[in-house]
């Protein structure tokens, strides 16, 4: 017994040694951002301010937008359809992916629509959506939903098909009903895939939000982008763009945190042993 425990500890020691070597990752990331910002600042200043901008000018524009209160209002306005559309995409995409992955009939009947939907040129369909849903909140949430539901669904679907057959047989051999196998074996085994799909969908949802603001009622952060572009105020135009990218990074990190909370075994099992 002690031998078993000892050998376990030994392998863990080796793993720790392999991953803890070198500079902390956040320092590498921070240095990379700093270098890029400096280079942008250095070369950006030489460019005509209509054709480009640079970090300090963008920061100045950011501060002006914050002081006038415009940025906060626009962000709130954009976030509402974003949260609703993205939330609904998770609520529909995950169960749909589970069902398609689990049942052959569902896969044969619905799989093609999901695959096709993922490649749907949504921008082209926005005018049609406007006809159906009007120009307001609903159409924006719908665009966000349609852009993000498919990657979530496809990833869940793939995850279900990747669940080891042996784990499902464990359920069967203990006479677990189908619903229990789906909820207590397939769902947890698929969680890492679901979380990956939810992460992938962040980027698409952000893009969808801006598209919706461009092509329906011009509002929110999209409005700041369009209006400042029309005024050749490139620095101001970059403020929401940079902000959205930062927001996507933050959201991604948040989802990673949630993933480690709901699926802690995954982070512990999965190999982070990379060069």
């Amino acid at each position: 017994m002690t031998q078993i425990v000892d050998s376990k500890i030994e392998t863990e020691d080796q793993d720790v040694g392999a991953t803890r070597r070198g500079v902390p990752r956040w320092i590498v990331t921070l240095s990379s951002v700093a270098v890029l910002t400096l280079l942008w600042e250095w070369f950006g200043r030489d460019i005509n301010p209509v054709f480009g901008s640079y970090p300090s000018a963008i920061a100045e524009a950011f501060w002006e937008l914050v002081q006038s209160g415009k940025l906060q209002a626009a962000t709130l306005e954009s976030l509402r359809p974003f949260v609703v559309g993205y939330g609904l995409a998770i609520m529909f995409g995950v169960p749909l992916g589970l069902v398609i992955g689990r049942y052959h009939v569902a896969e044969a009947a619905l799989g093609i629509y999901v695959t096709a939907g993922y490649a749907m040129p949504l921008v082209a369909l926005v005018p049609l959506l406007v006809l159906w849903l009007g120009l307001g909140f609903a159409v924006k949430a719908a665009v966000v939903f349609l852009m993000s539901v498919f990657p979530i669904c496809i990833n869940t679907w793939l995850g279900v098909t990747a669940v080891p057959k042996s784990l499902i047989e464990v359920g069967k051999s203990f006479v677990a009903p189908n619903t229990v196998i789906l909820r207590r074996i397939i769902l947890p085994a698929t969680l890492p895939y679901i979380m990956a799909g939810i992460r992938l969908a962040v980027g698409r949802a952000v893009v969808a939000m801006v598209i919706a603001e461009f092509f329906t009622t011009i509002s929110g952060l999209g409005a700041i982008i369009i209006n400042s572009a029309n005024n050749f105020d490139t620095a101001t135009m970059f403020v929401p763009i940079v902000m959205l990218m930062v927001m996507a990074i933050g959201l991604n990190g948040l989802i990673g945190l949630i993933e480690r909370r709901v699926a802690p075994w995954q982070a512990e099992i999965a190999g982070r042993d990379r060069e």
Partner: protein
């Protein structure tokens, strides 16, 4: 082949057919499946009777159908023809009267050892304080009481398989079906597990059907050895070692062990379709 038929029809150990039904009774079990190259016969005409409390090991080379036979007994696969009964009831699917121990333990990685054992019990409808107490009991039985809150990846291979055994035993099945459970363990751990399994067998009196490809293991732990080849039973052999067997290291040194081992070895190495000669 003649020999096999004759031994197969011998009454199994300690069987009292008038009062207790056989723990496992397989008659003419065959399984064929279609492939691109035509139909393949995975099992053909398996007849096997196992008495309650008996410990039988199924041995044979890879692809001989031993795991398939076990899966049919479990109800994970259905025979094309023939009939299997467990404790007098025909097998039509999985049931709580059979407990399966898988080759690689197959614990649910998101559950602790305790929750893994509880999973099987919950499927049987057990709830509340009794559920926890039963699970704790069986984890204690396999010597894992202190590790009950660890997740599978925090356990060694041997410990994982102990949890697998506890999970199967906890539902109090009539029959324990084990599919090469110690095959992936290192030699030392395997020996410890074999001794512990024998102790568990002595204590719980469960009927055990144990698939293995390890000749020594088959002889050390079983009452009877079923030697399989090409989907058929080649020979059934009574192991002349008394119970309890105690220290398996000592058992290995006995004449009976050596003789039985040699007999099984010869049978496994006999040319196909050649009857074993004694």
């Amino acid at each position: 082949m003649l020999m096999a038929v004759k031994t197969a029809r011998q009454p199994p150990l300690a069987a009292d057919r008038s009062t207790a039904p056989l723990a496992i009774d397989a008659a003419g079990v065959s399984l064929t499946f279609a492939t691109a190259d035509g139909t393949v016969e995975a099992l053909s005409g398996i007849d096997l009777q196992i008495a309650a409390g008996e410990f039988v090991s199924l041995i044979g080379p890879s692809g001989c159908g031993k795991t398939t036979a076990l899966r049919i007994a479990m109800g994970l696969e259905l025979a094309t023809s023939g009939r299997v009964t467990v404790d007098g009831r025909a097998v039509k699917g999985c049931g709580h009267d059979r407990g399966m121990v898988f080759q690689h333990a197959e614990l649910l990685p998101w559950l602790t050892a305790m929750q893994n054992v509880m999973f099987g019990l919950e499927m049987k409808g057990m709830r509340g304080a009794k559920l926890r107490a039963t699970a704790e009991n069986y984890l204690d039985l396999v010597g894992l009481g202190s590790s009950r809150n660890r997740r599978p990846h925090q356990l060694s291979g041997g410990m994982q398989q102990r949890v697998g055994i506890a999970r199967a035993l906890a539902i109090d099945p009539k029959v324990l079906l084990m599919d090469e459970p110690f095959g992936a363990l290192d030699a030392q751990t395997r020996e410890t597990m074999q001794e512990e399994l024998l102790q568990i067998h002595a204590r719980t009196k469960k009927t055990i059907l144990f698939v293995t490809h390890d000749l020594d293991e088959a002889v050390l732990i079983a009452d009877r050895i079923v030697i399989m080849r090409d989907g058929r039973i080649q020979e059934i052999l009574q192991v002349p070692l008394p119970r309890p067997r105690g220290d398996l290291g000592v058992v290995r040194g006995t004449k009976e062990f050596a003789e039985t081992r040699y007999h099984v070895w010869k049978s496994l190495h006999a040319a196909p379709d050649t009857p074993t000669v004694h």
